[in-house]
Subunit: 428 residues, 4 copies
């Protein structure tokens, strides 16, 4: 009920208390020079700050590369990105009262860019440095699109003709693992790696001391332990992690399992927008996330919580009119080959069909590929039971285009949309 | 196409240019002490700033009362509000190239509260000072609810049990009238006033030099003219104005008729949220609005533009499950009286039905009244052709309640939600 | 739980029981020659059939005029329609166990046209015979559009270029009044009539023996009583009635107050589609409605049920992209007159603005008027507090048009859509 | 514009022409005794009927098993289903003017059950006879749920506590292949089979004369050719086919490539409802589908049409509130095993998480499994780029449950929902 405040009969600073920012970063400074960041998962990373359940607080985040990519018209920065320095997380934040076995309820109240940095980027990474869903098929060379954030919308000078509202969300968010859970991760992923020793790209990433970073003053032996054992931030896992779920967006509520005292929540890799699958990255940005939390005692048991569950946001963009592409698990190299119920092939096929359509209206293959990664595309798995073809759909929202792109009797109008940012040597 | 920028291979301040804020205000200082504000509509108010089509810019706004209401638990400030100082607008902003007969396209890119003032209020005004839709029926005494803004959501310690995403929008936005249009307004409203000379409350408000304010350095004679002739900001008119349309929200695009060179756009009375009808005010706030504009030459003729038209936002909150109340134009005083196709009576009846239902689950009449003004209620006019009863519906989104409020066989569970903020003398 | 059925290991007629049709009508025969219909509200009309709570059943309905309008290209049938024979209801249906004070829960499970009659109509009625929202302004002459029902969609040869999914619903549905309630209706409406004795059109309709019809074998004195006292079916009232609420559609659940033993539910005036306001009628059709019911004892008290409340359907058409027109309470005759907070004037103004826009893309005024009555238009009341102008919005779903009708820099493309059905003498 | 009809001034049979039913079936008679059905894809199957572009017509379909499953409380019929007789299609329908290289536009105007058969079923098939997504994990034994169709809704006595609106659609729809395309299918699928000769279940199904059926009078040599070469109906392919896409629902518009003169459209396997993945079947039904078509000359080239593309329906059920489960590609047998970016494992994991949650509120594992197959579940692929874990989400619409199933501080309330239909020997 009403808190007891001194009665002041007007709006003043005294009765207007901003929410605290628990971690402040500079989006223009490399991540490994800043406090409150870390890039490994480990139970021994101490909480950088502590909150009580119910408090609203803000966390600032660098972009996932830590300022390596610039707002310009050349993709050389993508080509040369240093991927040993990625996935910088802000945190951990301890929540009072959270204990192993509990459920940590996290309200993602807002996700915004920095006012001083109203832009982000989507990149196609080189086959040999970052890759992506079509890295091999396209023999990918670096390309990118810079997106300008205009309130709730993004537009790009590199992909004219579209404008869409962002499904802004953290690509990476999770609670800290317990020592046991961490050991499980390292064991199972280690086994996979040992089965695919020379895979290119690697099938998984073992703990790697090089580049490990915790932006706190830690005893040497603690930092060494973290560097030696800490799980890499690349995949999502039972605690959340790098799930890249577009609908874990501002306004959503997520229920995380708690593995250590305090829960130790960390977050990073903010996205202004993303489709259902990140082929080659979302619209990556630095920014600010606003949280509040609560704790449900014994929640793991109460809700059979093996991984996070969540409630989506009522303010996710609604574009009801869509053009939907189908894909089946066959012939995606144009060689007619039949794959056996492979949803990934079907997904790629649906995407190639969408790219072919977008090229009919004038986008280059690179622009189409970037657009499908950045915009609020929806992808559904239609069927994986009808042997031998898995069937997948990809839905393109019509409302994001400035012009009507529906199939018409007279065919499609091809416009000139230029090209996205490419390498300075012109190779695409 | 890509602008020519110097190539810098990382994110820096140099390649990260924030959007300019063209009008800055302090939400804690009375409006009539600040530059860039005005509270009359008049063609002779000079543009405070000028933009080119396509530019993104920000405008700061005080709350509609200009800091008269405090974040506290007593409604005496509502009781004593000085309504001669209301509807402070930020502007005008001139748009290069806009001329009479054109259409000014305004993208409302974002509407947010000040970070330093994360709260707003909904008030029930005294019958004798402000009134409201049920001022007479309820013999209204001042009451209020303070809403805390938590990212996209609002909650209130004065109305526990609900949380909803804001449909944030400017209550008041419009282009400047021409001298001819202003004269038309004053003439037609003057005639109405002259026909209802002693009406309480007044049917309309004539130009009133007292309290007229323009936060610019103007020659005396100009200021006098504005004060003497300037239209009051209370109603909406052909230029937009105080339309209180909740769906003119962040993400919407509005097409305004242009009446003078430069169009001279002004904006104020920001709302964090509001239902379809503002009974007794929305969730009022001070804050920041982000715009971009473009001009369509001859747009008034092209689009038969007698008043603004607009495209709603894809990020308006979506609550698909609703409980809908009907109202007909009869018996709303409980005296059985039949009204003749009166949509307003039907609307009030639907509202009283909703209030009665909310009281069954434990809200006080004041809380229910405030909630229906603040939350994203939808109201539709079902029929005004079936004599003698107009029929109106009011839809309550179920997703804003923490508990299931659906009709159940066992009846409704009544909880104790306390009471909203009331007067220090306890009168309600 | 599972009912005990004989185990038959395949699909057969024996284990496939269709739902019963409790009232059968022929949509091509005048209503006053058919059993199970009635056109007055009176507690003494006996139940035509009785159901148990939980049963699914079907009711067939004639169109509201009882087959007076034909599928042709001339509006003389509209011009000459006999309005003394309208609003034929199917029923009443008694529900076992329902008693005064209870709440009757009615699931409107489906609303479909007859397979043998896949069409309906929207009419503009003559100023002197039926009228409509703009009867005076337009000096209305009969016109109509025939709509073909193609599955979930309607199209019209009289209004080319649009296709939309129907919000199919009963325009008229309600429980029977008690003798007391009926007396209240007759008293209050009689008082209104006596205050406007010579109004054209009449402000309300008193009981009228002429044309009163109950399609059952009743003792003379009972039929005389019904004819003499029975309430006319024109308006909606506390029991539901002719509310013309488009969202009381198939898939919705409605909670009605019960006034007599058995509740005695009646239904008619089916609409394939309608906008938020029926200006000049919806898409009128004959058809079949599927119901199931349940009873909540003491529901009137439990839910403070003064009038029906309802839950809308999850399958109402979703067209998220809209073009919205504003209207204020001024100048709707083009004479500049100021009205005092008149929502109906504001509504008409918004509608006139929409009609003007539709005429820019090539529709005639009559086509535009018919389209706005038939299509799933949404209308919201923006504000009725900002004296002297009420503000109303009317939202046109963009997805119903075959072509892009958005405002464009180059203006709107005007096509030739012909004209709707008009009178044989060519007068419009 | 208006067709010339004789003017009849009322609704009559003469001016009310029902749409023709081109194929009539009896849903209670085995499919191989009925005309107009076939169960192989082959270009030499003659058109059973021919339509002009723009005509509206109806096609009746048996359920996919051809009446093998009964409306009863025992799953022995599922256990013993004869899968050599499945996927009976109604057709082919030739469209005048369609030629290879064209695009056939098909409007799926409606999909309804037979009035005389208002029920359908969802089955869990035996590991050894039909299987399903979890056949191995669950060592599946036959179980089923009978669903009653109540207008737009389905409920089941075997899964109490839920009710949902159907996304009614054809599971199987496509144009006929050319001889070349058919040869391609047989070749590529044959190669896959030859690589997995003894796979259980088989990876694909080669042409199989046994059980091949065409319900037309054909010369022996034609029927033999069809039986010998005809492609099986199990998978989706470039022409559409058994894609099981829930959003190809009534109200959708689909663009098919045309491979032979007339296009030769066939359809079957109607579903009253289905989630995004059919684990173990949808809600299978017999019923009626309403179509209209048009032809876009050269559409394959115009739209880069490798497979069908489609526009979803505006009347697909909208349940905005959801509870979403995440799944990653690890440990789905509880053995901690790490899979390498396997979206199918991630999908299964998300599903197991949802089943575990549903069991907390009282459903049996079988009920939960059936429910997730039948209800309008949405599944999105979150990420397949973050090695080694693919991440998938499964969204459960909250509005389909009679009770609030949200996570609550006090945990979940476990109810007794009984059990679904199981085998007469009680084995589950």
């Amino acid at each position: 009920m009403p808190a007891v405040l001194p009665i002041v009969h007007m709006a003043t600073k005294a009765n207007s208390v901003p929410y605290p920012t628990l971690i402040e970063v500079d989006p223009f400074i490399p991540a490994d020079q800043q406090r409150g960041l870390h890039n490994r998962w480990h139970p021994d990373i101490p909480a950088f700050a502590t909150v009580k359940p119910g408090e609203v607080f803000k966390i600032q985040c660098v972009d996932w590369t830590g300022a390596q990519i610039g707002n310009n018209d050349c993709s050389d920065d993508i080509k040369n990105v240093d991927l040993t320095k990625i996935h910088n997380l802000s945190g951990p934040i301890a929540i009072e009262g959270a204990e192993p076995g509990d459920c940590l309820v996290v309200d993602i109240l807002d996700v915004t860019p920095f006012e001083k940095m109203p832009w982000g980027y989507t990149g196609i990474f080189e086959l040999e440095n970052g890759g992506g869903l079509f890295a091999r098929e396209f023999n990918s060379r670096a390309a990118k699109a810079i997106w300008d954030f205009k309130g709730v919308y993004a537009t790009s000078r590199h992909i004219p003709g579209v404008r869409f509202a962002g499904v802004s969300h953290p690509g990476l968010i999770g609670t800290a693992p317990s020592a046991e859970l961490l050991a499980t991760w390292n064991k199972r992923e280690g086994e996979l790696i040992s089965q695919h020793l020379n895979a290119v790209p690697p099938v998984a990433f073992p703990p790697e001391p090089k580049g490990a970073y915790v932006g706190q003053d830690l005893p040497h032996e603690v930092m060494d332990k973290i560097a030696k054992e800490g799980a890499r931030t690349v995949p999502g896992r039972e605690h959340g992690g790098n799930c890249d779920i577009k609908n874990l967006s501002r306004g959503s509520r997520c229920y995380f399992p708690v593995f250590i005292k305090g829960a130790n929540l960390s977050v990073g890799d903010l996205h202004f927008s993303q489709g259902d699958i990140s082929f080659c990255g979302a619209i990556e940005m630095a920014g600010i996330i606003t949280f509040s939390t609560s704790v449900i005692k014994g929640g793991i048991e109460k809700f059979a919580l093996k991984q996070p569950i969540f409630l989506p946001s009522p303010v996710d963009p609604l574009y009801s009119a869509k053009l939907i592409f189908e894909g089946i698990s066959v012939d995606y190299h144009g060689d007619g080959k039949q794959y056996n119920m492979d949803a990934t092939v079907a997904y790629k096929q649906a995407t190639l069909n969408a790219i072919a359509y977008l090229m009919k209206i004038g986008y280059t293959r690179e622009q189409a590929y970037l657009l499908l990664s950045a915009a609020p595309i929806e992808s559904h798995v239609g069927a994986v039971v009808d042997s031998p073809n898995a069937c997948v759909t990809l839905a393109l929202p019509l409302g994001i285009f400035e012009h009507d792109i529906l199939p018409k009797e007279e065919g499609l109008t091809k416009k000139d949309f230029g090209q996205c940012a490419i390498r300075s040597d012109g190779v695409i």
